[in-house]
Symmetry: C2
Subunit: 276 residues, 2 copies
């Protein structure tokens, strides 16, 4: 359970008593005003942690923060500064709790860019950085990786060519790629994904998925260069690199793991949804 | 199989011969330049249909069109006109084929708004209108339904309140709602979804999901009115109406069917993904 207010803590304790259970709790710190959490300099912060630590219905486990504001930073040094601000807030909050005898075991930090650019993670016990393992076009755009580092793509097939309109159609649309448009409005706008060769994984010219229907993607040249339709033919396999790896992966049941030669060597299941 | 060019037909026939199978084929008409298909007034149209009809490797089944341009219409009468244009194109194409002895059984038409506003569907054998069964905020916005007609919502719980920022957090984020932003840029922009009462399904003031993280939604008042935090408390159940029912439904394994009293009376499975 994630708790970020005294009210929330009181409600949680009351509910846990009714159910006669002991609930382990992590308190979220709000360091950059990005989404939720409690400001550790707020007097309620200590009150909240004391409540959770003293109650027999809850077990105080630690603190977490999420540097979501890293997605709004304009430079990598701003991201490093933000990560350091989160780290100092965590170290201070830990010290305050320690001084009154409240100890925890989880001191967790989040966001892929902030983890990548942090100059130190001293004081944290874990980094929650989901995209980090695959990377994606947004991360490449903000400098957290190279395009060649992106380890996840959607395999697709050319199912229609329209040379007169200088575009073609693939059988991967919004359901396969997601409607994530996190690169929109940036100078690395990738539409709904970049088109790559299916064998070597390299981008083909500046082809990108400029529009999606549910099951179809429409591919055009970002600079409106003439597409080479000798190379783009019906049935050709291509790969689409994702804007946001997490959203794209969530549209699929499993990963097909390929080796350097492009051969499938394993299949990894995914946990999707929320039901047991 | 969907075919929209002579090249495509020749490739398909060659592939079917190699595999020694007979492939049933529907030819897509391009009536409004929205995504794919062949213009039925193009001389290749008849050539293509003859090829498919004459070959022992393919079986000509009929024609289809998709009035995707209805999503760009600014009035319901424009949608009706577009539907009629598709209908006339289909009737003419059928007549041309009939005149040379090519008959089919499938004459299919698509898009929810065009189906809804068509003055006649004479000449079609089916309407492909996926959203039609549930409707959504986009369809309500363009006048294809009322908000009260929307039959699909995501059940969610208030997990954090931030009265000082006049906002609160729910446990439905981008993975539960989808990142579809089809209402963006319209005067009925609904963010990532409208907030409703969980019992009677009515919208609560003008609350909407203005931002999403993967597992969290941030709710604010569209007009920035003061939110009534006596009514919005931790643990309260709410419903979120979707921008685009198809994308939201695809994020879930099944539907919980509720009766007029809000009791779950059935559970309907969904077919997601592409693998057998």
């Amino acid at each position: 359970v994630l708790v970020d207010s005294v009210d929330g803590a009181l409600q949680l304790i009351a509910a846990a008593r009714v159910e006669r259970v002991v609930v382990p709790v992590v308190v979220e710190l709000d360091v950059d005003g990005y989404r939720c959490g409690i400001d550790p300099s707020d007097p309620d912060f200590l009150r909240l942690c004391r409540l959770l630590s003293d109650s027999e219905a809850t077990e105080f486990r630690g603190l977490m923060s999420y540097a979501g504001a890293s997605y709004r930073c304009s430079s990598t040094s701003d991201m490093a500064d933000l990560a350091e601000r989160h780290r100092l807030a965590m170290v201070c909050a830990r010290a305050v709790l320690s001084a009154v005898g409240i100890e925890g075991t989880i001191f967790s930090f989040g966001s892929t860019p902030a983890t990548y650019f942090a100059s130190s993670l001293e004081g944290f016990t874990e980094a929650r950085c989901g995209i980090y393992m695959f990377q994606d076009l947004y991360q490449a755009g903000i400098g957290a990786c190279e395009i060649d580092d992106i380890a996840l793509s959607v395999l697709t097939t050319v199912i229609g060519t329209q040379p007169a309109l200088n575009r073609f159609t693939i059988d991967a649309g919004a359901l396969a790629l997601s409607k994530d448009r996190s690169t929109q409005g940036t100078d690395f706008d990738a539409g709904f994904g970049l088109i790559c060769d299916s064998e070597n994984g390299s981008p083909i010219d500046d082809l990108y998925v400029s529009a999606t229907s549910q099951e179809l993607g429409l591919v055009t040249s970002r600079s409106q260069n003439r597409i080479d339709f000798r190379a783009i033919f019906l049935g050709r396999r291509l790969r689409v690199l994702p804007n946001h790896a997490d959203m794209t992966a969530a549209a699929h049941d499993s990963y097909h793991v390929v080796n350097a030669k492009g051969r499938i060597v394993d299949r990894w299941g995914r946990v999707n949804g929320w039901e047991l």
